[in-house]
Amino acid sequence: MAKQNVNHPVYDEQAFNNLVRENHQRIYGLFRRMVGSQAEADDLTQETFIKVYKNLPKFRQESSIQTWIYRIAINQGLNYLRRMKIRQTLGLELADSAAEPDEFQSNQSNRNLLRRAIAKLPPRQQMVVILRSFQELSFKEIAAVLNITENAAKVNFSHAVKNLREIFLKMGVTYENL
C-alpha cells in the first residue's frame, strides 16, 4: 500500500482547494469539449478532483502535479466515452447525445457537425483529437498524459482525421467546393 506522505505540498485541505482553483479551468474545459453539456462536464470535473484528493498520498512526483491531474481527468474522460459507446449500443442513450451542444456557446452549424462526427470516433482517437486540436497540447504532452509514445499519439491523430473525413462522407458532408 502507498505510504501517506503527510509532508506532501498539497496534502492539507487549503492546499488542495488551491489546487482545484488553479487547475479547474483546464479540466472543466477538457470535459466541456468532450461532452458538450455543462452538467455532465461539472460532474466529471468533480469526480476527477475527488479522485485527485483520494490519490494524493500516492502521487510520487515523477511528473508535474498538473500532468498527473490531467492524466486522471483523461482516464475519467475515456471511461465516460466508453460508457457512452456501450450505452448507445444498448439503446440506453441517443446515438448523438454525447455530442449534443445543448448549452454550448456556438452558433456554427459545421461546428456542431464536427462534434457529432468526433463523437463517432473510437474513444482514444476522440481524446487525441480533443487534446491536440481543442486543448492545444503538443504530441509530446499528449504522449505523457495518455502514457503512450509520441509516435503513437501522432498515428492516432492521423487515423482520427482520416476517419473524420470518412464519417463526414457518410453524413453527406463534402469539401468538394474548395
Binding site: 482545484v20 479547474h24 484528493y53 471511461n79 456501450i86 444498448l90 461546428r111 473510437p122 474513444p123 481543442f134
Partner: protein
C-alpha cells in the same frame, strides 16, 4: 500506390505542422504530381482548419463553487454510513460463510466445489466486480483456467451481454462498463461487438 497511402497518413500532421523536414518535402513533392492526393489534401486541410480551439465560457465564480461542491462531497463520504449501507455487504458475507461452511461439512475443496456451479461463478464475478474481493485467489484462477486478460475480456463480454438481456438495471450495467476502463481499444471494440450480437 504505396506512396499515396503513406502521404495520406502524413497529411493530417503536415497541416498541423508536426512533420519533420524530410517528410514535409516528400509530401510537397508528391502533391505536385498526384491529383488524387491533392484532392484528398484539400479535404484534410479543410478538416484541420475546422478543428480549431473553441472557446469555453466558464463562469467567474465556477472555481469557488467547485471547491464547495467537492468539499461537501468529501465531507459526506467521511461521515459514518447508516445501517442500511452496511446491510448488503453484511448479508453477502453471511451468504458466503454459509456456502463455505456447507462445503467444509462435506469435506471437499471449498472453492472448486463452490465454483463448480456455473451460477456461483457468476456470483463470484459479481462480488469481485462490485469490490467485495480485492483479488482473485489462485485456486480460482486454476479452476477457471484462463489467463488474466482472457478472463477479463470474455467474462466482461458475457456478463455485460447477460446483464443487458436479463435486467434493466442501469446501475448494474454501469458497474460492468466501469470495468472496461483498462481494456485496450481492440478489446473494447470486441466487447461492443459482443453486445451487438447479443442484442440481435
Amino acid at each position: 500506390m504505396k506512396i499515396c497511402k503513406q502521404i495520406k497518413d502524413y497529411l493530417p500532421l503536415f497541416f498541423t505542422g508536426d512533420l519533420n523536414e524530410s517528410a514535409k518535402r516528400l509530401v510537397e513533392n508528391h502533391l505536385k504530381d498526384c491529383p488524387a492526393c491533392r484532392k484528398f489534401s484539400y479535404e484534410i486541410q479543410h478538416l484541420i482548419n475546422d478543428l480549431q480551439p473553441d472557446p469555453v465560457n466558464i463562469e467567474p465564480n465556477y472555481g469557488a463553487e467547485l471547491v464547495v461542491k467537492i468539499q461537501n462531497r468529501l465531507h459526506n463520504e467521511r461521515r459514518p454510513k447508516k445501517l442500511k449501507y452496511y446491510l448488503v455487504p453484511v448479508l453477502g458475507s453471511i451468504l458466503i460463510f454459509i456456502i463455505i461452511g456447507f462445503n467444509l461439512m462435506r469435506n471437499q475443496s471449498i472453492s472448486s466445489q463452490w465454483l463448480s456451479n456455473d451460477n456461483n461463478i457468476d456470483l463470484y464475478m459479481d462480488l469481485t466486480h462490485s469490490g467485495y474481493f480485492s483479488e482473485m485467489p489462485e485456486d480460482v484462477f486454476d479452476f477457471v483456467n484462463f489467463n488474466e486478460n482472457d478472463l477479463i475480456t470474455s467474462e466482461l463480454r458475457q456478463k455485460i451481454s447477460s446483464v443487458v438481456l436479463s435486467t434493466n438495471s442501469n446501475l448494474l450495467i454501469d458497474d460492468y462498463i466501469e470495468s472496461t476502463a483498462f481494456l485496450t481499444d481492440q478489446d473494447f471494440e470486441s466487447v461492443l461487438e459482443e453486445i451487438e450480437k447479443s442484442i440481435l
